[in-house]
């Protein structure tokens, strides 16, 4: 704690020095450009916020604002919007009288802010209520538990998704968990079966294909993974799939292609980090600037003592692939897997342990991987 505070003080001092006074001369001088609003006029958004301040328990209005802000948080990688979404549903402090959709929104935002235990607790409170079946809440809980590396809890929630009436999502949910345990062939055929469903919406198709691509990536079947990623991007090119595909391309040392995928995206921390890594790998001309910008963002984020909860994965990857600092990467990755245990988190942990060259570090990672029950062929050569 004391060390963290000293580090914090140093970071603060360094950043305080960055502040430069502004002395505007004319009234029409632009001092700040606000983030763009999408589709909707700025004035209308303001009126909505004012209306919400007057009627904080208008669930339709509150959820409309919260969804819009959450979508912007995802799109731009700007956490302030997640905070604004939380504020929009602040009319219900007490979970007991919050509508189901508000609870679900709160859980999703807690998840976005990496408060996984809190998200699960909110969902469990919601699911304990009598009433209509809630496939979305079960599916969200299944995902939270999967991210935490609690596969059997995730399985139980997946089963409830099917029971609540969403058979396709429930089956896909279970197939994903089975794939994480290494049941590649069986999961592959289940996902293929679901993909053969007639009139599948584009977004659902893309989701199934991305799940399949990630399976092939862990099974070290690069050609199959590449095909599935491309098909997913054709079906519905969402932000998540682009990032996952970029990670795959970097892994395959196809950095130029990774840069092409990333350059069209808003420069969120996740995108910028990968631009820096792929740029360094490809020795691209813009790499130095991207690296410098990412380094500065990390320094700024670290002013908060809890920064590593939100940025542990990215910071570990940066330490490992940009700075080549295996020990620091290992420490960051260790902190990160205490929070989230997706395959990429365990992979980065293993890569850091491998680079550190220490058997004790590799043993430590192996114990975590075994406890989770993940089978990822990429880990074999590292541990």
């Amino acid at each position: 704690m004391r060390r963290a505070l000293i580090a914090l003080a140093l970071a603060w001092a360094a950043l305080a020095a960055h502040a430069a006074p502004i002395n505007p001369m004319r009234d029409d001088e632009v001092i700040e450009v606000l983030p763009a609003t999408a589709g909707r006029a700025r004035g209308e958004e303001r009126r909505q916020r004012e209306q919400l301040a007057k009627t904080p328990r208008d669930a339709g209005l509150a959820l409309g604002v919260a969804r819009r802000e959450l979508a912007r948080a995802h799109e731009l990688g700007d956490p302030r919007f997640a905070g604004m979404a939380l504020a929009a549903i602040d009319g219900w402090r007490n979970d007991a009288d919050a509508p189901a959709d508000v609870m679900l929104m709160r859980a999703t935002l807690q998840q976005y802010l990496h408060e996984f235990d809190a998200a699960a607790a909110t969902l469990q409170k919601l699911l304990a209520r009598p009433g209509s079946p809630q496939p979305q809440a079960w599916l969200t809980l299944a995902t939270v538990r999967r991210v935490q590396g609690r596969y059997s809890d995730s399985d139980a929630a997946c089963a409830q998704v099917s029971r609540a009436g969403s058979t396709l999502y429930g089956t896909a949910c279970q197939a994903e968990n089975a794939a994480l345990r290494g049941e590649f062939a069986q999961s592959r055929s289940r996902l293929d079966g679901l993909l053969a469903t007639p009139r599948l919406p584009g977004a659902t198709r893309a989701w199934l294909l991305t799940t399949l691509a990630e399976l092939e990536q862990r099974a070290v079947q690069p050609n199959a993974a590449d095909t599935a990623y491309r098909a997913a991007l054709l079906a519905d090119p969402d932000h998540y799939t682009r990032l996952a595909y970029a990670d795959f391309l970097i892994e395959q040392r196809r950095a130029e292609q990774a840069l092409t995928v990333l350059r069209s995206q808003p420069r969120s921390d996740a995108v910028l980090l990968r631009l820096a890594i792929a740029g360094a790998q490809a020795r691209a001309p813009g790499a130095a600037a991207d690296i410098a910008e990412m380094r500065e963002r990390i320094a700024m984020a670290n002013e908060r003592p809890d920064a590593k909860r939100l940025h542990g994965r990215e910071q570990a990857m940066f330490a490992l692939w940009i700075d080549g600092a295996a020990d620091r990467a290992l420490e960051l990755a260790r902190g990160n897997v205490a929070q989230q245990r997706e395959p990429i988190d365990l992979l980065v942990f293993a890569q850091a342990a491998h680079r550190s060259g220490r058997d004790s570090a590799r043993d430590e990672v192996r114990r975590v991987v075994d406890a989770v029950g993940l089978r990822d062929e990429r880990l074999r050569e590292l541990l």
Binding site: L8, N23, P79, E303, Q340
Partner: protein, 369 residues
């Protein structure tokens, strides 16, 4: 993590496409607190973007904050921020302000000070900035005391304490602070008081009153009319029964100053001053309500908070009135009183009022306040 959100969107929410890059860190404010033998100095940096989300600095909704917009919003920025930071035993006063650029955007800089002496190693800080806009906002405070290592504290915004039972009477203080720093209201009151120590004699001339009690009666009448009137509109606006745009009220307040000053030199009011004062007081009440809106009174104790704020206004106003009346009474018999104080003072007030009117109806800056 991302997987979850993607799935969430998949089932229930529509995707929105947005363009433009923006900041990528959470909302932070920076506080530098220096404690010394004679008190404390505090520098508080708040992102303009965050302030815009709370109190709308971008008046024309074009997504660009100009210096003109920020400059005219300064009183609102102070009225919003300052009550949201309390250091136990240390009433804070505003000592200056500025702007600065950090790598993630432009920040408002508030300089605050207090004469208090903090005995404990760490002062108790109550922080509620942006709680209603972004509960993930944090204040990063560095506290320095001579001869000691600096301490960094993370301030998490909590619900603003507003209960009168807590004994802090912060809305009362907000009210006093607002009237004392609301120069337009003070100037209007002074214009009304200038001739109060004189009385009109038949034929249009003025004569100094003989006794203080003769001045007190008209002063009480005028102040009561002003108070009653602005309390009515403040209450109506605060209860959201009536609402008028600031673009209308702010210039109207400037007009009341010009007219009140003009009447001192050259009678223009067709009715008694008390009646005019009441009418103008209604307008000023809407001006107070604008500030009240930004104070974001807690709905649970709305009536209490409103009463406290209004009481604070009246206390501050009473202090101004008493001081001004005593001073004017002392000066009234001087031969130059009418020429210099009444005429000169009124003329100066008219000039300021006209300049304010120009400022508030256009986008130019003419006065430092």
């Amino acid at each position: 993590m991302r997987a979850l959100c993607r799935r969430f969107l998949l089932l229930v929410a529509a995707l929105l496409v947005s363009t433009s890059a923006a900041a990528h860190k959470a909302s932070d404010a920076y506080l530098q607190l220096d404690m010394h033998e004679r008190g404390l100095a505090l520098r508080w940096d708040i992102a303009l973007r965050d302030l815009d989300a709370a109190i709308t600095l971008d008046a024309d909704d074009d997504g660009r904050l100009t210096w003109g917009e920020v400059r005219t919003a300064w009183p609102r920025i102070e009225a919003y921020a300052v009550p949201r930071l309390q250091i136990d035993g240390c009433p804070l006063r505003i000592a200056g302000h500025g702007l600065e650029r950090r790598s993630d955007g432009a920040y408002a800089v508030l300089q605050l000070a207090s004469d208090c002496i903090v005995e404990s190693a760490l002062p108790a800080i109550h922080y509620s900035l942006l709680r209603e806009v972004d509960p993930t906002h944090r204040g990063i405070a560095r506290i320095e005391r001579v001869g000691q290592a600096s301490i960094v504290r993370l301030l998490e915004p909590t619900e603003r304490a507003a209960s009168p039972a807590a004994g802090r009477l912060e809305f009362l203080r907000d009210g006093v602070h607002h009237i004392l720093t609301g120069y337009d209201h003070v100037l209007f009151l002074l214009c009304l008081l200038l001739p109060a120590v004189m009385r009109r004699v038949p034929g249009g001339g003025w004569q100094p009153v003989e006794r203080l009690s003769q001045a007190v009666l008209p002063v009480v009448g005028i102040v009561s009319a002003f108070t009653l009137a602005h309390s009515i509109t403040l209450g109506l606006a605060a209860a959201k029964l009536v609402s008028l745009p600031a673009a209308l009220i702010e210039p109207a307040i400037a007009v009341t100053i010009v007219l009140a000053a003009l009447d001192n030199i050259w009678p223009v009011f067709p009715v008694r001053r008390v009646v005019v004062t009441f009418f103008f007081g209604l307008i000023h009440g809407f001006g107070f309500a604008g500030v009240l809106g930004e104070l974001n009174l807690p709905t649970s104790q709305f009536a209490w908070a409103l009463l406290e704020f209004n009481l604070g206004l009246e206390l501050g106003q009473l202090a101004i009135v008493v001081l001004a009346t005593v001073a004017l009474f002392a000066l009234r018999a001087r031969p130059s009183y009418r020429a210099v104080v009444v005429r000169g003072g009124s003329l100066a007030a008219m000039v300021v009022g006209v300049l304010w009117l120009a400022e508030r109806t256009s986008n130019v800056s003419l006065l430092p306040i």
